[in-house]
């Protein structure tokens, strides 16, 4: 017996879900989905679970992560129930479920809370800069130390425990028996999906979108690597400098395209933007752009007279590292890859 929980729908709609109660269970969405298979049929089942409020079944399901949002289900849904956006909202909800701190849910559901967090971080950065008399070299040094601490801290305190929670929801809690060797065998899948998002190619006419996203991920990882590990802003190596320019250009160009798509709303995937989506791509654009300009100013010797520019970059970076990466949309990078990993482990 299952108890119906109608409150779940109200909660889910705060993550952006549409009128999923309009669904009359015809299965058109599943039948037009190119990623759906006999073993993993979605999105109708997710739609049904959401209507009934079967939270535990949803928490243990990988299906929201198996969808790469081509939007065919939404286009052809006879009831305008928008299953594509429901899957997207379930992913947002799952991110908040996996997060042990509970901050993800708060930030997803409340724009004022997010704004307050962003302002607080900006204030701390400004206060610190004020306390060191806006000494650029000290700020840049602290900025670099912060990057390293943030990466290690966020990963070990927030993301790693969350991944373990995800594992618990998917495999341990439903008591799925898995031979240990499967975890090793599936590792290759984890790497492949993390760096290529190969599965997204299964969507109809998705090659261009996949390519843009693929380049963006490479650009982002490249930017992370050059700024943090190769210390791009303090490096004299021509190779590192040139590489930094290239990856930062990639990041802000591709994200600008995504921003443009979301404004234009032509494809299903870019029609329904939540604040979390805007925040993610705008901050990514801003990061790429500000990093690019900072390095340009260093190379032209203008930075010393334009300290504010580095401060802007540092604020964007701190907000990114402390809000968007641990609690926001950034986490889909990990959860998607691990969803594919667990999927392989189970099957």
């Amino acid at each position: 017996m299952t108890a119906i929980n109608t409150d779940f729908g109200k909660d889910l709609s705060k993550y952006g879900a549409f009128d999923f109660n309009a669904c009359y269970n015809c299965g058109t969405c599943t039948a037009v989905c190119t990623l759906s298979t006999e073993e993993d049929s979605f999105p109708r089942e997710m739609q049904r679970f959401s209507v009934l409020g079967l939270e535990d079944d949803l928490k243990g399901s990988l299906k929201p992560w198996l969808c790469y949002y081509c939007g065919q289900c939404t286009t052809y849904c006879p009831q305008n129930a928008n299953p594509g956006e429901l899957m997207m909202s379930l992913r947002r909800w799952l991110i908040s479920v996996y997060d042990w701190t509970g901050l993800s849910g708060l930030l997803y559901k409340s724009l004022p809370a997010t704004t307050a967090g962003m302002i607080l971080i900006a204030a701390v950065v400004l206060f610190y800069s004020f306390s060191v008399d806006f000494d650029l070299s000290r700020i840049m040094h602290t900025g670099h130390t912060f990057e390293i601490i943030a990466i290690v801290g966020v990963f070990s305190i927030i993301l790693l425990p969350n991944l373990i929670r995800m594992w618990w929801f998917i495999i341990l809690k439903p008591r799925i028996q898995v031979p240990v060797i499967n975890y090793l065998k599936a590792l290759w899948d984890l790497i492949v999906h993390m760096f290529t998002q190969k599965r997204a190619l299964g969507c109809d006419d998705n090659e261009l979108r996949w390519f843009e996203h693929f380049i963006l991920v490479l650009g982002y990882l490249g930017l992370l690597f050059t700024t943090v590990f190769l210390n791009w802003f303090s490096s004299d190596s021509v190779f590192v400098i040139v590489m930094g320019y290239i990856v930062s250009i990639i990041v802000f160009t591709v994200t600008l395209i995504f921003v443009y798509d979301r404004i234009r709303k032509k494809d299903e995937i870019s029609k329904y933007s939540q604040p979390s989506d805007w925040l993610f791509i705008i901050w990514l654009t801003a990061m790429g752009l500000s990093a690019f300009i900072v390095r340009l100013f260093i190379d032209t010797g203008l930075l010393e007279n334009n300290k504010w520019l580095y401060l802007v970059h540092l604020i964007i970076l701190a907000q990114w590292a402390l809000i968007i990466v641990p609690f926001g949309k950034w986490t889909h990078f990990l959860y998607r890859s691990f969803a594919m990993y667990f999927h392989r482990v189970i099957s």
Partner: protein, 433 residues
């Protein structure tokens, strides 16, 4: 019909000579009133006369329609104009409508034609036969279909080459190429709109491949293949003329679907598909018939039993709407759907697919009234301001609606609706006399 712009008068005008219009006209005429039926087509009978059998009794449709139609044709109180359309209606006063109608030339003097079919044999032009839903061809000089009423030839002037072969062979010299379009004004006391419905065009759902995959047909095309006057005398798939073994019905093609602009249930598709499935079990005893549905709506008298009977005969019912159809090299078709009862995406192979197309409003419902406008509802059906207390009333006093012009309706309901409309029309004529 001598002379142009002639004005004549009748008690009632019935627009549409289908089963609803015919029934309404008969009721009014039997009460001693003069009725004019204006029918756009070349024959009376509407959609029903083209059907095979009717649910839930499996009576032969023609056996019900033809006696009724011949009663209408022979009735002294009823005048019939075929090939005629209403152009404009002006309500001059209560119980006085001035109606302008346009009679298109048939190029055959109806009264003289003996339906000997010599013209048909002589005509060299072959075009698709719309009355057989394009399954076979017909000539440009033709009798619309075997049980047409009036059973008289007509010339399809758009395809005619004006070779004159028909004129030469006609024994009664009834072919007359000099006929012209006539505009006739008539005065009537009351009007019944029985304009019927139109069928959803499945070309609007490209993922079902209608028009591209030859073995995907509509339910009306299957209806013709099952009718007593059927073109092939058996059921064949159009792609290669093979007798099909595995047939699939796709319910809700263009019904209950916002994306096609028709969000409502068509009310008849479940039942006519079940009926066709039963007829197919008889016509092709070895064939498997599968009906893919969202919900089976068998709400009328005897309908649920009819559905159970189909299940008992071995018709497969699968809950799940077809998402996509793809064609194999041999003309067979793959249907992709989610089996809702099993929560599983599946693909099945069939050698013929019948799209159970939905019911849409007839564009002809937009009747032109000067002064008083006849309101249509959002989907283009004639608006009923009092659907519960007086279902025949429209927004114009003295104008009544009968049959599926008011909304999707099966045959028993259409006849009932025609009864209501005729009673209301007669009351209106008698009122305050």
């Amino acid at each position: 019909m001598a002379g142009k712009n002639k004005t004549t008068s009748f008690d009632a005008l019935v627009i549409g000579g289908g089963i609803a219009g015919g029934e309404a006209a008969l009721n009014i005429a039997n009460n001693g009133y003069k009725v004019l039926i204006v029918e756009k087509d070349l024959s009376l009978g509407g959609k029903m006369i083209l059907l095979s059998k009717v649910f839930p009794t499996l009576d032969c449709a023609a056996c019900i329609t033809t006696p009724k139609i011949s009663e209408i044709s022979r009735h002294h109180g009823i005048t019939i104009f075929t090939g005629t359309e209403v152009q404009n209606i002006v309500k001059k006063a209560e119980k006085h409508f001035r109606v302008q109608i346009k009679k298109k030339p048939r190029y055959v003097i109806e009264e003289d034609c003996t339906a000997c079919q010599l013209c048909e044999q002589a005509c060299p032009v072959v075009v698709k036969d719309e009355y057989q839903y394009n399954l076979v061809g017909r000539k440009a000089a033709f009798i619309p279909f075997t049980i047409a009423s009036p059973r008289a030839a007509a010339i399809d002037i758009e395809n005619c080459t004006l070779c004159g072969a028909c004129e030469k062979v006609c024994p009664t010299k009834c072919i007359d190429f000099t006929q012209e379009e006539e505009i006739i004004n008539i005065d009537v006391q009351t009007v019944i709109a029985a304009t019927g419905f139109s069928l959803f065009d499945p070309l609007r759902i490209p993922r079902y491949g209608y028009g591209k995959y030859r073995n995907v047909i509509t339910s009306m095309e299957m209806e013709r293949q099952l009718a007593p006057t059927r073109p092939y005398n058996t059921v064949l798939r159009p792609g290669d003329g093979k007798v099909p073994d595995r047939l699939a019905y796709v319910l809700c093609t263009g019904s209950r679907d916002f994306t096609t602009g028709n969000p409502i249930c068509s009310q008849i598709c479940c039942m006519y598909s079940i009926k066709q499935a039963q007829l197919l079990m008889g016509a092709l005893p070895m064939a498997d018939v599968t009906i893919y549905y969202i919900n089976i709506r068998s709400f009328g008298k005897g309908f649920e039993e009819f559905y159970e009977q189909a299940k008992g005969m071995g018709v497969n019912f699968i809950k799940g709407k077809i998402g996509k159809i793809t064609e194999k090299d041999n003309g067979n078709l793959f249907l992709r759907y989610e089996d809702i009862n099993e929560n599983k995406l599946k693909e099945s192979e069939h050698d013929m697919v019948i799209l159970s197309v939905g019911v849409l409003s007839n564009p002809d419902n937009a009747l032109f009234f000067n002064g008083d406008k006849l309101w249509l509802d959002q989907l283009g059906y004639i608006n009923q301001p009092e659907p519960l207390s007086s279902p025949a009333e429209t927004t114009v006093k003295g104008v009544y609606v009968a049959g599926s012009a008011a909304g999707p309706m099966d045959i028993p309901d259409s006849i009932l609706s025609a009864g209501a409309a005729s009673a209301a029309a007669i009351s209106y004529i008698i009122e305050a006399k």
